[in-house]
Amino acid sequence: MKSKVSNKSNAGIITLGEFKKIPGYPEEDDFSKGPIAVIECDQDIPCNPCEEICKYGAIKVGKPITNLPVLDAEKCRGCLKCITICPGLCIFVVYRDYTDKTSLIYIPYEFSPLPEKNTYVDVLNRRGEKICKGSIRKVIKLAGSNKTFVIGMEIPKKFYNTARHFEF
């Protein structure tokens, strides 16, 4: 919608400055150990299934359940389970050093049809803007994921903090 009404709204956008402060966001160094959960949850909503589903104890919410989820990067194995359980679809798994030049971003996906493996796609940022091209590498249906699929897309490394969706 190209509108004369100003659309500078940051509604629903976690800005670069903000996400570094979120307790579910890994530190820069944590990305070097392999795939890691990125929990973009910054509102005190009463909710804790991410804590329950993590069998490695890497996500801590505690009581009250309005606490923000805190990520323990040491314990996270990048198993993708939390992606599928989060009702807010706000957890991603980022494998920054997938190759020398590319990262692999795992995103929750609830649309039909599913992309096929190796589809060349437009990669979108948090504002839905096309930022680069990417390739779908994984289309995963985890047991118990209840129709939330996990899509792994390979993207140029510099976009690992911004790429959050795709279009094909």
């Binding site: 919608m1 804790n48 589903i53 309005t66 706000c90």
Partner: protein
């Protein structure tokens, strides 16, 4: 004669039926639809909350689970049935589709009739192609009819955000969400998933007109200032065939007004709400209220409120000892407390407090 007549089999009503029938109460559950479960069947998204609140499970699946539970219990369920009145001597008057009016005398009554969508008046709001977001959600998720191809969503509370997302999932093109306030009303995570799939959200913006004859073919939107006054010159015409209104809900309490119950106006709960005590009993003895009808919240709190009434009625009819009942209520109240925490829940908790404090 029935121990307990429940009017409305949504999340609150069906939970109250299950909870009270479990302890032996003879329950009659009435609903106007052909399936109990109410709005749970429009909710294809996963619920927030904790394990006790079935977090991560989709709404309609919770609906099926509640139906499975009720089928195992001895509950008299009257479907396709509207209640058109309650008399002062607890006679519930109803009509089941295809049969003539009947009535049943109730020992206790729960009014769990849910909420209604608030209208927004603008030029063209009565045209075909303008509808409530909840209506669109019912058409799409229950009846499998896509109500439009190109949609403008008016309102950014959780209902507006969720329904916009579901319209997109169902194959519609959502051209945008507009919100009159300077910031969105719903959860940020819901807005985030809308934004990253490319749906814009315009804040400080309202709808001025729906155009088209007779069916909507475009909408005129306009920017507003902090006092919600239109800023002339900022009008813009947007092509769409569906304008969805998500301007909030109000408790649907016509049976309570009919009974002349005591009401209080609580803005955070959607407007006029029947005053009730901690057991959710209203100003009239043996008449209970639960769910959105007792103040607009969400489905998880509705289910807990329903259970609370179920326990209270089982206690009153001596199917539960006071000690057993207080223990059960304590657990339910703890869970309710958790659902009303945080910056979103806090306002509702304060509203509820205003409501129950007067009746003491």
């Amino acid at each position: 004669m029935s121990d307990f007549v429940i009017i409305g089999a949504g999340p609150a009503g069906i939970s109250a039926a299950n909870e009270s029938a479990r302890y032996g109460v003879k329950v009659t559950l009435i609903d106007e639809n052909n399936l109990p479960g109410g709005q749970l069947f429009t909710q294809t998204h996963k619920f927030f909350g904790s394990r006790e609140h079935r977090a991560g499970v989709r709404g309609f699946q919770i609906g099926y689970d509640l139906i499975e539970e009720i089928n195992k219990l001895n509950v008299d369920v009257l479907l396709d049935t509207i209640v058109y009145g309650i008399s002062a001597d607890m006679e519930v008057k109803y009509v089941t589709e295809g049969s003539s009016a009947k009535s049943i005398t109730a020992g206790n009554i729960l009014i769990s009739t849910g909420a209604l969508e608030k209208p927004v008046v603008f030029k063209g709001w009565t045209k075909p192609g303008v509808m409530g977001a909840g209506a669109a959600q019912t058409m799409m998720n229950v009846h499998r009819v896509l109500p439009g191809r190109k949609v403008l969503m008016v309102g950014s509370g959780n209902v507006g955000l969720i329904v916009a997302y579901q319209l997109k999932q169902a194959g519609a093109d959502v051209v945008g969400i507009i919100e009159a306030m300077p910031s969105i009303g719903g959860y940020k995570v819901h807005a985030s998933k809308i934004r990253r799939i490319g749906i814009p959200i315009l804040t400080s913006c309202t709808i001025k007109e729906a155009k088209g004859s007779p069916q909507v073919s475009s909408a005129v939107i306009v920017g507003v200032d902090k006092n919600l006054r239109e800023i002339s010159g900022t009008e813009d015409e947007i092509k769409c065939d569906l304008v969805c209104i998500a301007a909030g809900l109000k408790p649907f309490d016509e049976l309570c007004w009919l009974l002349n119950l005591e009401f209080k106006y609580i803005n955070e709960l959607g407007g006029f709400v029947p005053v009730h005590n901690d057991d959710l009993e209203t100003s009239m003895k043996n008449i209970y209220i639960a769910g959105d009808a007792a103040g607009v919240e969400e489905a998880s709190t509705a289910m807990e409120e329903g259970r609370l009434v179920g326990v209270a009625v089982a206690q009153k009819l001596e199917y539960l000892s006071d000690r057993q009942a207080e223990k059960l209520k304590g657990k339910i109240n703890d869970r309710l407390k958790y659902l009303r925490l945080g910056s979103f829940g806090k306002k509702r908790a304060e509203g509820k407090k205003k409501l129950t404090s007067i009746s003491k």
